[in-house]
């Protein structure tokens, strides 16, 4: 499930309008709209925390594996890692667009891919010429 869908669902079940939510976490209504239409993601991690508190959901639920994965890749491999992680996610979501696959399986594939990514990164390090 994408962050945008999760956010909308959580906001609806918390019985908040977009503007109410925006006020509570201190961003513009437009920002919330952007999050929910899927164009944008919060840049700062603190914002996720605020969102999770206001909406009363688990932080890790909002920080879906996908985004967590991107953050993790960025912190370990810098902007290049971020790019790679994003590419991985984008390519896979393009693939899922066809349907047929259940949500559970999509998540499972995503998880497997991320695991494979870390393994491959570790493995490839052995053959890289850069100093550790």
């Amino acid at each position: 499930m994408k962050f945008s869908d999760k956010l909308r669902e959580a906001r609806n079940s918390a019985n908040l309008t977009q503007s109410q939510l925006a006020q509570q976490i201190g961003v513009s209504v437009r920002t919330i709209t952007n999050y929910e239409t899927g164009d944008r993601y919060p840049k700062k991690r603190e914002l996720y925390k605020k969102l999770s508190q206001v909406l009363n959901v688990d932080l890790n639920y909002l920080l879906t594996e996908d985004e967590e994965f991107v953050f993790e890749a960025e912190s370990q491999h810098g902007s290049r890692g971020k790019k790679q992680a994003k590419e991985l996610i984008e390519s896979i979501s393009g693939l899922f667009a066809g349907g047929e696959l259940s949500q559970g399986d999509k998540d499972a594939v995503m998880q497997a891919l991320q695991e494979a990514y870390w393994d491959a990164k570790k493995e490839n390090k052995k053959y890289s010429h850069t100093k550790k």
Partner: protein, 201 residues
């Protein structure tokens, strides 16, 4: 073979030649692999080829998937399959690795799921799997004896659809085979998506 509506300049005759060459190439690849690794155990072959198998317990309908992640070739395998089925799925994914790896790399991240099966790559991978797992020397006597397909599959302890694909491929290759086995005896041309019907449990 499935009919594909492509704007092909191939004449019918050229097309059969083309298909035959394809079938031959796949057969050769499979036999070379078996001879080299001296086994028909597809998990073993994958390991020898340097393809990493990830056994995933949380896959439900998805049986397997082949992909290349950061230059590492990976097979994601549903861990809830029985031994026979997992052998088929792994062999199928190895087929993708050997026949379609360029496709997997070029398009960035093209997966081969066992879901989208009405496509040429999927049939080719199935044919490859059939060659890896089934020995034509064992099948031929059964066929000449006139054993039914069901009985043959039972005797060889294999999936009946895999066996049908193997027989179709064998007759394409003309392995002294065309006259002996009437393809009409096959209950139906196996759909390339037979893997979908493997029990997911």
């Amino acid at each position: 073979m499935q009919k594909k509506k492509t704007k092909s300049i191939l004449t019918p005759r050229n097309k059969t030649i083309n298909e035959k060459m394809n079938a031959l190439a796949i057969y050769k690849k499979a036999t070379a692999l078996i001879n080299k690794h001296k086994t028909r155990n597809s998990a073993k072959i994958a390991e020898n080829l340097g393809i990493k198998i990830y056994y995933r317990s949380n896959f439900t309908d998805l049986l397997g998937m082949y992909t290349v992640v950061q230059r590492q070739r990976c097979i994601f395998l549903n861990n809830n399959l029985g031994y026979e089925d997992s052998q088929i799925v792994i062999a199928h994914e190895i087929g993708h690795d050997l026949i379609h790896r360029r496709m997997a790399q070029n398009s960035g991240h093209k997966e081969f799921m066992l879901f989208d099966l009405n496509s040429r790559p999927e049939y080719e991978a199935n044919a490859f799997a059939a060659h890896i797992l089934l020995d034509e020397k064992e099948i031929e006597p059964l066929i000449t004896d006139g054993v039914s397909l069901e009985a043959a599959a039972k005797q060889l302890n294999t999936n009946i659809n895999l066996l049908s694909i193997k027989i179709i491929e064998m007759s394409k290759l003309d392995l002294n085979f065309n006259q002996k086995f009437d393809l009409k005896r096959l209950p139906q041309i196996p759909k390339s998506n037979f893997l979908k019907n493997l029990t997911g449990k």
